[in-house]
Subunit: 276 residues, 2 copies
DNA sequence: TGTACATCAGTGAACGCGCGTTCACTGATGTAC
DNA sequence: TGTACATCAGTGAACGCGCGTTCACTGATGTAC
């Protein structure tokens, strides 16, 4: 595959990568608004106009960074899920497990300790991975989930990659419903003693169904809504943590985060840990 | 009070107000990073250097806008709560009600329809007010809760005003515990059938206690934690909504927001609506 | 294998812009006697 | 009530900076015959 590529082509992909890498460095140093083509060019020892051979404008470069960011975060989440899923796949050896391993190119040896494949374990792993990514790339996180860059309108290209992240969550919820050792997922959802769930408006119900039908058609509406709530909750916590809103209350917030994830798992009806 | 003030003094406070107003206009038009002293001065028909008589630097002006923003949002939340609380105060005529009215300078006539003073009603009103404020001032919202402005470090002055908002929430939770007509707040908190609450780590517990002791000492730890979760959840939803993360799922998100608030109320153990 | 032409990457200069902040100044407002 | 001085608001010019983007160009890489 690589043989057929000309020197020019290889140089081009290589430099495109290097430009984005330098831009990410800039991003980490000065934030999205401070990101300047000239600074990036300087760092690469090029003249600023040369960058226009690779990106049509500053906005184009930003878009590329955003897409890469979503992909990088999605990969981190998916990898964490795969690692947590691995052990159970191993034990079950079922078709689903094999398919998942095959698709993701899994290596049996790389399983994390304590990876038992249970949905709750997976949720913990995925949330921790997302949080770790956010902490490792705070400016990229801000670029993806913070205030929109003024004067920059995110093109359609960013929507697809962005959707991969909630998908991981939905998959876990689905597994929690199907697999649950204690049959927890089978009973009608309830979230408090003697307290019925709120009413779903027709509009909300149709919105939820539209989303569900693409990814998890068998999920009941209320569970789908709960997943959406969990999703916003997760990133709400991260934004508060990273943007300094929690200073003075639960800071450092590792334990609060962990606690909230457990509550989230309960809300999502994921079976509790065995032996409790 | 006003008589003792010199013409200079009055002109100064007036102009300070006008500058901030023009700056808020700028903010709404171009965002926080695009906010420029020169543009603000231009709008006021002044020369840019004149602004330095009122604000020592661009950062100082930004800080003032942030503080004003928190205050404006807190006022909106408090007013909504007061309106929802009003009816019950009227009926009960208790000391707490009178104190609240006195402190806030309440006017008996301005009660919203359906204001029954129940904690759940109050939560609904406050959440709706916060959301309305956010929608009315998206750039100010981004300034307060979005990515930090690069190169700008929020000074201590912004912490106090920021804390007023969660206080409103805590007050409602407290009322839900004390008042609950159905005695709902009295039983040990539970959030799912036969499912115990997650363990609170010692660190988290001490963090929660530290916060609680200032504002609501009698709140049990788990309820305090739930309030914190609700707080992050609320702003997580708003950020997703305003920053375009919900496009393609639950957009418009009015109904989703309403549903999430009901779930939040349930989590916070606020008594359900009568007749359900 | 060699030559002629087309494609492309990178250069360097330039355009036009707006920004935050400083500083010496003028003229108006306030204060003390 | 009037005068002398101090305080303060606003001016206008200037400093020094960095930015995104365009454009005509040179020289290297690729391609077709």
């Amino acid at each position: 595959v690589n043989a057929g590529r000309t020197a020019r082509e290889r140089a081009r992909t290589e430099l495109t990568r290097e430009i984005k890498e330098a831009a990410r460095g800039q991003l980490a140093a000065v934030g999205a608004d401070g990101l300047s083509l000239r600074a990036v060019a300087r760092e690469l020892g090029m003249v600023s106009s040369a960058l226009y051979r690779y990106f049509a404008s500053r906005d184009d470069l930003l878009t590329a960074l955003i897409v890469d960011g979503y992909e990088s975060l999605a990969l981190a989440a998916e990898a964490a899920d795969k690692a947590a899923r691995g052990a159970a796949d191993e034990a079950a050896g079922g078709a689903a497990g094999k398919a998942a391993r095959g698709a993701a190119g899994g290596v049996p040896g790389e399983l994390a300790a304590g990876a038992d494949g249970r949905p709750r374990t997976r949720l913990r792993a995925v949330c921790a991975a997302i949080r770790a990514w956010a902490h490792a790339h705070p400016h990229e996180y801000a670029l993806l989930f913070g205030s929109p860059v003024p004067g920059y309108q995110a093109p359609q290209a960013t929507v697809g990659p962005a959707a991969r992240i909630p998908l991981v969550l939905l998959e876990i919820v689905r597994a929690g419903r199907a697999g649950g050792g204690s049959g927890a997922g089978q009973r009608p959802m309830n979230h408090g003693p003697g307290r019925p769930l709120p009413v779903l408006s027709p509009l909300l119900e149709s919105q939820l169904r539209a989303v569900a039908e693409q990814f998890a058609p068998e999920l009941p509406d209320h569970l789908m809504a709960t997943a959406l709530i969990a999703w916003t909750q997760l990133f709400g916590m991260l934004s508060f943590e990273l943007f300094g809103q929690l200073v003075g209350s639960v800071d450092p917030s590792d334990d609060f985060f962990g606690y909230a994830v457990e509550r989230m798992a309960d809300q999502l009806d994921l079976p509790p840990d065995p032996g409790r």
